[in-house]
């Protein structure tokens, strides 16, 4: 499995609100998650993959609570 790298800051994710919620719950910045769907849409799997470290740099970006 090829490991994608996390996306640069400033990129905007395409994701359903429910996926955004999962990202929030996992303290992931959804905009950094590479999406595997059409036009780069981020699915729940993508977020989970991102968290489980299959994506390089994933853990580097913990979301600071505001």
């Amino acid at each position: 499995v090829a490991v994608a790298s996390s996306l640069p800051a400033g990129h905007k994710a395409l994701a359903s609100p429910a996926v955004r919620r999962l990202a929030r719950e996992l303290s992931v910045d959804i905009h950094r998650v590479p999406g595997t769907g059409p036009k780069g849409r981020v699915f729940k799997n993508d977020v989970q993959a991102f968290v489980s470290g299959t994506v390089s740099g994933a853990v580097a970006a913990p979301v600071v609570p505001v």
């Binding site: 359903s16 609100p17 429910a18 955004r20 919620r21 929030r24």
Partner: protein, 325 residues
């Protein structure tokens, strides 16, 4: 219990209400001796006299104004507008007067007893002047309550609750179902709650919401969806104003998806209000966009009714699209 069609259930409700309370008076065009063009007030004049069940002159604004006056005096007028398509001449009396009566007077006066009954909706080859579903025109009006029953049992219980309600109610009757919908109806007096939706079937993947005559149609669509393995939660909204945000929101929080169906044209229809509220209330739960399956943005057609309407197939497609988004 007795088998009744929707007209019989409505007639029975009116009969019980008139028997129970002298203040209940039924009137409208052809409502008297003839019992209304659909016969919803059949035999009521015979039973309760001409003073309490009568024909009016042909003036919807007059009917509504007269009803406002009677209700202000403390009586309980149940006024019929022959077709919902003809409620618009009464629009000022309803929207500017009925709805604001209590508020504007600081509760010195009110028209709480008032009910407007009116047959609405299509499917009867009636074209755009005998098919409209104007609930959304009224739903923008604080002070009104709006109720739409889906079958005889609901019709009786909701109509009795409307008559007994301390606020004015517009009661839209799906005329397509007047004779077509038959079911068991308790013979005694009972009320069903205004402002509460009913979850008719639980499910996990998508919430499907409608009201009135469309319930039959969405039920069919839900059956089709279940047959291909989509688990649907089916809700009958029953009251348009106030509408039961909590029940719908709870369902959508669970399913993450919502398909709304109504007969009226899409733009400005009440599905818009529901979608707007639910996307806010359930935002982070939404797995797919809220979809609306509605009439086209045209007057209700005559020749191509089948194509125009928000039918079970369009709803089925929307359910699939929602789940497969």
């Amino acid at each position: 219990m007795a088998k009744m069609n929707m007209l019989q259930a409505i007639n029975n409700a009116l009969d019980l209400a008139m028997a129970k309370d002298d203040g209940v008076v039924c009137f409208g065009e052809d409502v008297g001796h003839f019992g209304g063009v659909f016969r919803a007030t059949s035999k009521l004049q015979e039973k309760y006299g001409k003073a309490r069940c009568f024909n009016t002159p042909l003036t919807e604004q007059g009917i509504a104004g007269f009803a406002n006056g009677m209700a202000a005096q403390g009586m309980t007028p149940v006024a019929e507008i022959q077709f919902a398509d003809y409620i618009f001449p009464a629009f000022d009396q309803i929207v500017n007067e009925t709805a604001k009566f209590r508020y504007r007077s600081g509760n010195e006066f009110n028209v709480g007893g008032l009910v407007f009954r009116t047959p609405y909706g299509g499917g009867i080859a009636g074209g755009h002047y005998h098919s409209q579903s104007p609930e959304a025109y009224f739903a923008h009006t604080p002070g009104l309550k709006i109720v739409v029953p889906r079958n005889p049992h609901q019709a009786k219980g909701l109509l009795l609750a409307s008559i007994n309600c301390p606020d004015p109610v517009i009661f839209f009757e799906p005329k397509k179902l007047y004779r077509a919908s038959v079911g068991e109806v308790p013979e005694e007096y009972y009320e069903l709650p205004i402002g509460q939706a009913e979850v008719m079937k639980t499910g996990s993947q998508v919430t499907v919401l409608a009201w009135g005559a469309q319930m039959e149609i969405v039920e069919k669509a839900v059956e089709m969806a279940e047959a291909i393995g989509i688990s649907c939660e089916l809700i009958d909204l029953r009251s348009i104003l106030p509408w039961d945000v909590d029940t719908v929101a709870e369902s959508v929080k669970k399913t993450g998806r919502l398909v709304i169906n109504h007969e009226a044209p899409l733009t400005g229809g009440f599905a818009g209000e529901i979608a707007a509220t639910i996307q806010q209330r359930c935002f982070l739960h939404l797995e797919s966009p809220i979809l609306r399956v509605c009439g086209l943005d045209t007057p209700y057609p005559l020749a191509l009714e089948k194509e125009y309407v928000a039918d079970h197939l369009k709803t089925f497609e929307a359910i699939k699209a929602s789940v497969n988004f």
